[in-house]
């Protein structure tokens, strides 16, 4: 007779791969065979994990359709079995599984939609930190601005979209007609964060994205202006532009601390 460890291993193989060998350790009754009994666990395994993915990737499911989404979920479940104590993390490899390639955009739209939805998941339950306000900026001494560093709310994240993913997500969410997937003429920048309890998103112009990426990477205000200057024709406008972005981020609740 197998011990506890071997028994559990055989049961797991039955649940995940349908390994029939395990059936000999299970009692059958007249009314219900061991196969039917074991199938309850096998079915529950895949349906529970698919439910978790449905909850994280609601719009992707809607756009792919139930049958395709179901097939993809089963394939994902086999390739990326859960190693997490909470289902919260099970879907984290789904964008990569679908071929998401943030650097060059050589992915199809489902991968990008998955990445967008996963970004929302991350923003939804990121750590709570009190947002800074414009009053915090007002008390910074003029000579301290050059070295000023910006600490963002943990929910802030950015992504590049190569498809009309944002428009499609918004239409689906608002139960409007969803446009067909098309590649954009040039990639667009998307910003996501949580303000108080509400998850927010919007697209960004290229110069704001450059400034934000620099600040997120730890650049001080002077370095941020330097990054912005490379993309700005009118150099005199750079400090004003940078200050404008800072004000926008502060009023949106994206910043938690200004480190002078």
């Amino acid at each position: 007779m197998p011990g506890l460890k071997e028994l559990q291993n055989a049961f797991k193989r039955n649940v995940v791969n349908g390994d029939e060998e395990f059936g000999k350790y299970i009692n059958s009754t007249k009314a219900v065979s061991s196969d039917v009994r074991l199938a309850i666990y096998g079915n529950a395994y895949f349906s529970r994990l698919e439910e978790a993915l449905e909850s994280d990737y609601e719009i992707l499911k809607q756009l792919l359709g139930e049958d395709v989404f179901n097939e993809v979920c089963i394939a994902y479940t086999h390739k990326y079995p859960s190693h997490y104590y909470s289902l919260r993390w099970f879907g984290q490899d789904f964008p990569a599984f679908l071929g998401y390639q943030p650097g060059n955009g050589e992915h199809h739209w489902p991968a990008e939609m998955a990445q967008l939805e996963w970004s929302f998941v991350g923003a939804f339950d990121a750590a709570d930190v009190m947002a800074a306000t414009e009053a915090d900026a007002a008390i910074i001494a003029p000579e301290a601005w050059a070295e000023l560093k910006i600490k963002f709310h943990p929910s802030v994240r950015t992504m590049v979209v190569w498809w009309n993913t944002l428009a499609r997500w918004r239409a689906a969410k608002n139960t409007e007609t969803v446009p067909e997937p098309v590649r954009l003429l040039k990639p667009a920048q998307c910003l996501l964060w949580r303000h108080e309890l509400m998850t927010q998103y919007r697209s960004m112009e290229a110069d704001e994205a450059i400034a934000l990426q620099a600040a997120l990477a730890g650049a001080n205000f002077s370095e941020l202006c330097g990054a912005l200057a490379e993309e700005t024709q009118d150099q005199e406008m750079v400090p004003m532009k940078a200050a404008g972005f800072l004000k926008t981020w502060l009023s949106a609740g994206m910043i938690v601390e200004l480190l002078a």
Binding site: S82, D125, V129
Partner: protein
């Protein structure tokens, strides 16, 4: 009718599971519910809505914590990262108690996210007892273990499920979350008398009841928590109260969520049965409960 059973276990009254579908209703209307149970893993996050509403609800209600990932019967080492997070959550919530299930949930780090049954034999008892002691030492409190529903029984089992639970509780000095619906489900699936189960468990170890709905397929029953509690489970609840005395009871609903008023109506039924069995006096602590 009075049972006359003396017990010093805490009695919270009649509760409900705290689910996101009802967050706003609960915080805004402060319904007459004596206590709430949370699924611990749903609050092992860094921030946002789940923890916000948890804190708001905690301001007004006692809370108990119920986990699904401890894998007390698993053969992987206990997950220290999980235990650490669980302890952090207990520090935040200060729950009346902490529970999980008598089951295993995965192996070799692969989590099946299900409550997998254990064989009822001496090897499993020795294994679980040692792990319960480790968990209780780490958390600094006794834990409650719930009887899970099961659809299979092993040829390796050497005893009944209630004998298995009892020996573990006595040796590990832990407590029980007695799920009445699960006893009903398992009794139907395996053909035992649910009253034998109730009679086989020492009353002083049972600190909490779960009641829930299930899906009935005729030859077998699946524990789905997506229907109202059925009559035979209400009847079993009354029998359990006679045997165990006053035990904090709650209704679990995890799918096909009805309007909150329907859950409150079920809660009223829960309380009526408790009043009938235990006597109105015992239920006086539940002055905030609806009639």
């Amino acid at each position: 009718m009075q049972t006359g059973i003396k017990t010093d276990k805490p009695f919270l009254g009649c509760g409900l599971g705290l689910r996101p579908e009802y967050y706003e209703t609960i915080v805004e209307s402060r319904p007459a519910v004596d206590w709430f149970e949370i699924i611990s893993e749903n609050y092992m996050v860094d921030g946002g809505k789940p923890l916000y509403f948890l804190d708001r609800v905690r301001e007004n209600y006692p809370i108990v914590m119920h986990g699904v990932s401890l894998s007390i019967g698993g053969t992987d080492p206990l997950d220290q990262a999980y235990l650490k997070r669980l302890k952090q959550l207990t520090d935040r919530v200060e729950p009346q108690w902490v529970s999980d299930h008598m089951c295993w949930t995965g192996q070799d780090g692969h989590n099946l996210h299900d409550l997998m049954p254990l064989p009822f034999n001496q090897e499993a008892i020795d294994h679980v007892v040692a792990r319960v002691q480790q968990v209780q030492d780490y958390l600094g409190r006794q834990i409650l273990l719930e009887n899970a529903s099961s659809y299979v029984s092993y040829v390796q089992s050497e005893m009944t499920e209630w004998e298995f639970h009892t020996e573990i509780m006595q040796r590990a000095d832990c407590l029980m979350l007695f799920d009445i619906n699960n006893v009903y489900v398992s009794a139907r699936n395996h053909g035992f008398d649910p009253l034998d189960y109730i009679k086989g468990i020492p009353a002083e170890r049972v600190w909490q009841f779960h009641l829930a709905g299930h899906s009935d397929y005729g030859d077998y029953v699946i524990d789905t928590h997506d229907h109202p509690v059925v009559k035979p489970v209400w009847e079993l609840y009354a029998e359990a109260l006679k045997h165990f005395g006053p035990v904090s009871a709650m209704i679990e609903r995890d799918d096909c969520f009805p309007p909150f008023e329907e859950l409150m109506a079920e809660l009223g039924e829960l309380r009526n049965i408790a009043r009938d069995v235990l006597g109105a006096e015992k239920l006086e602590v539940l002055s905030s409960c609806p009639d």
